[in-house]
């Protein structure tokens, strides 16, 4: 079987794909062995296939995967959060985190009293207190004067946020002067539904 250069150029791709029968394959290889031009075509094509087939050739953009997850989340996870809402939530979370850092820093800041008269009128309790969003006073959990959902904060946080002690329950607690053992586990800050009494 006589093979010309044109035959090689027409079949060289099939040769690489293993798509030639033994006889034409052998004839093609015999031609290649003595034709420099066709050798350069073969070697050049092999180089092309090896280079582009290398995993290092194409890379996914940085953060492709997390952006894809974010895009799919609504449908795949059944969430109904728009991209804008997601951005807002990220912003709010960041702001809250910043507030927490600031609050932690402020915890270490104790302003000097201007005089004896500037001492607090009453001591703050040593345990967490309960506040209701939108309320004005902080309480011992179970105080009958507290209505709605409450969550636990430190007394210092309550004061910083503008809450003042409940004149009923806190009076009793402070009157005990450190002997107060309110019936709550003051570690959580979860919201708890209470009934108005």
């Amino acid at each position: 079987m006589v093979v010309k250069c044109e035959d090689v150029w027409r079949e060289i791709s099939n040769y690489f794909d293993g798509d030639l029968d033994p006889a034409p394959k052998q004839a093609l290889e015999e031609h290649l062995a003595q034709c420099a031009h066709c050798q350069s075509v073969r070697d050049g094509m092999r180089n092309v296939v090896e280079l582009y087939g290398d995993k290092a050739m194409f890379h996914l953009p940085a953060r492709f995967h997390p952006r894809l997850r974010e895009r799919l989340a609504d449908q795949v996870e059944g969430r109904r959060v728009s991209r804008r809402a997601w951005l807002v939530s990220v912003g709010v979370t960041g702001a809250l985190a910043a507030s927490a850092v600031l609050a932690a820093a402020l915890d270490h800041f104790v302003p000097l009293p201007l005089s004896e008269m500037s001492q607090p009128a009453q001591r703050l309790p040593q345990h967490l207190v309960a506040i209701v969003d939108g309320g004005k006073t902080f309480h011992v959990p179970g105080c009958p004067f507290m209505h709605g959902k409450y969550h636990m904060v430190t007394p210092e946080e309550a004061v910083r946020e503008g809450y003042s002690p409940c004149t009923r329950c806190m009076y009793e607690a402070l009157r005990s002067a450190g002997n107060v053992t309110p019936d709550f586990k003051g570690e959580e800050t979860v919201s708890i539904e209470t009934e108005a009494q």
Binding site: F16, V49, L51, G53, F64, R67
Partner: protein
């Protein structure tokens, strides 16, 4: 001229089998049954493939990423339409190709197609005769500028060649799967693949120093080394 007896050089570019196909069938069943979060696991092996085919068509990274996301989203929404006679990966690539072509039409990118698109792909192609052919070693791919040049060379080909070449030689899909994904015959895949390989060989054969020096098909003013 079919032959299963492959030489060493042939094996290097042979399509890879898909050992995970049965696992994918199980995953798809569970996703359809309501375990939708398994979709992430299902598509994880194909994220790169979908992006690369979108990038190949659109030639723009941002558009390609957005298109890839849309394709995955559509695949999830229409997973019920997937028929198990074909591979999930092939079906997914079809979705991605359709999405990329749709975006291409919307952005009127088709008017920028290289003139080779109008060529008759059945016509013979005479490869250039390089007397001092020099191989580009795979290690060169570590250099970003080399990868960019290779990407630019590929981008200079007509779309029908790019699509076939990328599915077959970059993503190692079989000739048959490539044909199915593109909706063309096996013969057309082979013809286009031959042409694409020869044209890229002509573009790259002068080696790293002379790359595209005399046979560039890249439009004036967009030469990748500038």
């Amino acid at each position: 001229m079919q032959n299963r007896d492959r030489s060493e050089a042939e094996v290097a570019i042979a399509p890879r089998s898909d050992p995970a196909q049965e696992h994918e069938a199980v995953l798809i069943g569970r996703i359809r049954g309501g375990e939708t979060e398994l979709f992430y696991e299902l598509i994880r092996p194909y994220e790169r493939r979908v992006f690369v085919i979108a990038f190949t068509i659109l030639r723009n990274e941002e558009d390609a990423e957005d298109t890839a996301q849309e394709a995955f989203l559509k695949a999830f929404k229409h997973l019920a339409q997937f028929r198990s006679e074909s591979r999930f990966s092939t079906w997914l690539i079809q979705v991605a190709i359709n999405e990329a072509r749709l975006r291409q039409r919307k952005s009127h990118l088709e008017i920028m197609r290289p003139i080779e698109d109008k060529e008759n792909e059945d016509g013979s192609y005479t490869p250039h005769d390089f007397t001092d052919w020099r191989e580009i070693p795979s290690e060169a791919l570590e250099r970003k500028e080399i990868r960019e040049k290779l990407v630019a060379a590929l981008a200079s080909l007509a779309q029908k060649y790019r699509e076939v070449f990328v599915l077959r030689d970059v993503e190692h899909m079989s000739i048959e799967d490539t044909a199915e994904a593109l909706g063309i015959s096996v013969g057309a895949v082979k013809t286009r693949l031959l042409r694409a390989r020869l044209m890229l060989r002509d573009l790259l054969s002068p080696g790293l120093e002379g790359i595209w020096a005399s046979h560039s098909q890249i439009p004036k003013g967009t030469k990748p080394w500038s």
